[in-house]
């Protein structure tokens, strides 16, 4: 733990949980311990009413096969929030999960687009989350658009990006202008640093607030209630942060 009294991950969990306010059903993809913890925190803050589906979890309450049902569910408008990431993310919120260089024979090949080209359109509140905040990741223009950040007005698109969370800051996204806006900088980081480490242009108000640190109540909920829940899906993560094992 850093000398702030909380783990950096706990700040991110709190930030994302705030962005999830008002969601009835949050789905979380694979390999997403921080978004997953944020969704479970949101559920605690909402008295358990929020539904959370964590793909790959063995807890029946959260169980989803991550297959046809997941995409159908999104198509029906029954998923309010989801998380996407990218090997590259550009200033128009285009994401690239495919690779670096000229397609198809790229010099670096990542896994592939998974469900992004669909879920980015169908889930109303997509939160982009990428811990690494460098010009290598946050680029001016992605090499391959796995899923576009904005669409022409005639394209049916109930969903799309609402913001981007990194280890340095929180951006909101304005689909009308296709631009990110710096909303807050995490404690210990600066606007100048964010500008230097971001490869795309973004709107930046004259005064950018610090991201609020998680308060004692939030930290207690995360450590006592969320930690044993997320340990089921992400045992290594929960052990490392909180030395907590699965509740299952």
């Amino acid at each position: 733990m850093s000398d702030t009294g909380y783990h950096p991950e706990e700040l991110l969990i709190a930030v994302i949980a705030r962005m999830l306010e008002g969601c009835g059903h949050i789905a979380v993809g694979v390999s997403s311990p921080i978004p997953g913890s944020a969704a479970l925190l949101r559920r605690q803050l909402d008295g358990g009413r929020t539904k959370v589906s964590i793909i790959g979890s063995e807890l029946p309450e959260f169980r989803t096969d991550g297959g046809i049902d997941l995409f159908d569910c999104a198509g029906q408008g029954r998923i309010d929030a989801f998380f996407l990431s990218g090997g590259q993310i550009d200033g128009q919120a285009n994401i690239n999960l495919v690779g670096v260089g000229d397609y198809p024979r790229q010099k670096v090949r990542w896994s592939g687009s998974f469900g992004s080209a669909y879920l980015y359109f169908t889930v109303p509140r997509v939160i982009l989350f990428r811990e690494e905040h460098t010009p290598r990741v946050l680029v001016d223009k992605v090499d391959f658009i796995s899923a576009p950040g904005v669409s022409p007005p005639n394209v049916h698109r109930p969903g799309g990006p609402v913001g981007l969370v990194t280890t340095r800051c929180l951006f909101s996204f304005d689909p009308a202008h296709g631009r990110f806006r710096l909303e807050s900088v995490h404690p210990g980081h600066t606007v100048a640093e964010v500008k230097a480490e971001t490869g795309f242009a973004f709107d930046c108000p004259e005064s950018v607030p610090d991201t609020p640190a998680p308060d004692a109540r939030i930290l207690q909920l995360v450590r006592e209630t969320v930690a044993p829940q997320i340990a089921d899906a992400y045992p290594k993560f929960a052990r490392r942060l909180w030395n907590v094992a699965s509740a299952a």
Binding site: L97, R109, G112, G115, A117, V155
Partner: protein, 277 residues
């Protein structure tokens, strides 16, 4: 009724000719027919068009590394917590395979179109992605129910063969899918299904009210081989966990061509040698 269980792994995979379009299932839950995949590698099958439903990991990476694959149609190939799929990445870089990028619900939609015998299924999303830009088999059509509403038509995927692993098979050739009910889509979309099963079910799966709902009838099954631990090193829900040490060893060895060759010797060709002893 014919006994469809009279086959071994080698005979099972011998049914798949060079150049076949083969659909395999994603890694979660244990439906990955890894024992059969190793048999396919040993056989030296070539020029496969592998469709991953909708993603893959070690299975696709192994087939690609061993030179069995001409085309891979996928939404993602990854070793998950063990990193990127190394032979897949190397093959893309070398240009030695044709890559057809997709997105998960489009793979499912294409297979569902195959299952229904319809030429396509329309799917929301996708418009403006480079997936659409690089696929000459997708069409953007007009939604006939709304003005100025483009939508992507996903063409039917009709694989020649589906290959997957299930918990149970009976002597009639019915196979119980367990939680992996999407396998029904694969089995019905493909012209032929080849299945490995963890064990034999004594009786008829379709007679059991609790098993029948997730059973694919023998009508869709060409052959079944019993292959205990057939998903290893992947795990299988309710049966055994993934072998994480082995996955890490694969990721480490397959990072280089030499390491991958050593892996093949030890775990693929070596498996046959060990069995023959």
């Amino acid at each position: 009724m014919t006994d469809l269980l009279d086959t071994d792994l080698d005979a099972l995979v011998a049914r798949i000719p060079d150049g076949a379009k083969l659909v395999v299932f994603k890694a979660e839950g244990g439906a990955v027919a890894m024992a059969a995949t190793r048999a396919l590698v040993r056989r030296g099958t070539r020029d496969l068009h592998v469709v991953t439903a909708p993603t893959s990991g070690l299975q696709a990476d192994l087939l690609i590394g061993a030179g069995c694959v001409a085309t891979i149609e996928t939404s993602g190939v990854t070793l998950s917590e063990f990193g990127q799929a190394p032979r897949f990445g190397a093959a893309v870089k070398a240009g030695s395979i044709r890559i057809v990028d997709s997105t998960c619900p489009a793979v499912y939609a294409g297979l569902q179109a195959g299952q229904k015998g319809i030429p396509f299924v329309p799917l929301r999303g996708l418009i403006g992605s480079d997936i659409v830009a690089f696929r000459d088999d997708y069409r953007i059509i007009d939604n006939p129910y709304r003005q100025d509403d483009p939508i992507v038509a996903i063409p039917a995927i009709v694989p020649d063969y589906a290959l997957f692993h299930v918990p149970l098979a009976d002597r009639a050739g019915n196979v119980w899918l367990g939680r992996q009910t999407e396998l029904k889509v694969l089995a019905q979309a493909a012209r032929h299904s080849l299945v490995t099963a963890e064990r034999l079910y004594d009786g008829n799966l379709l007679e059991d009210d609790r098993l029948a709902p997730a059973t694919v009838s023998s009508l869709y099954v060409d052959a079944v081989a019993v292959a205990p631990h057939g998903a290893w090193p992947y795990g299988m829900t309710g049966e055994y966990a993934a072998d994480e040490d082995h996955m890490a060893e694969y990721a480490s060895l397959a990072a280089t061509g030499e390491g991958f060759a050593a892996y093949l010797d030890r775990y693929v060709n070596g498996e046959a040698a060990a069995a023959a002893e």
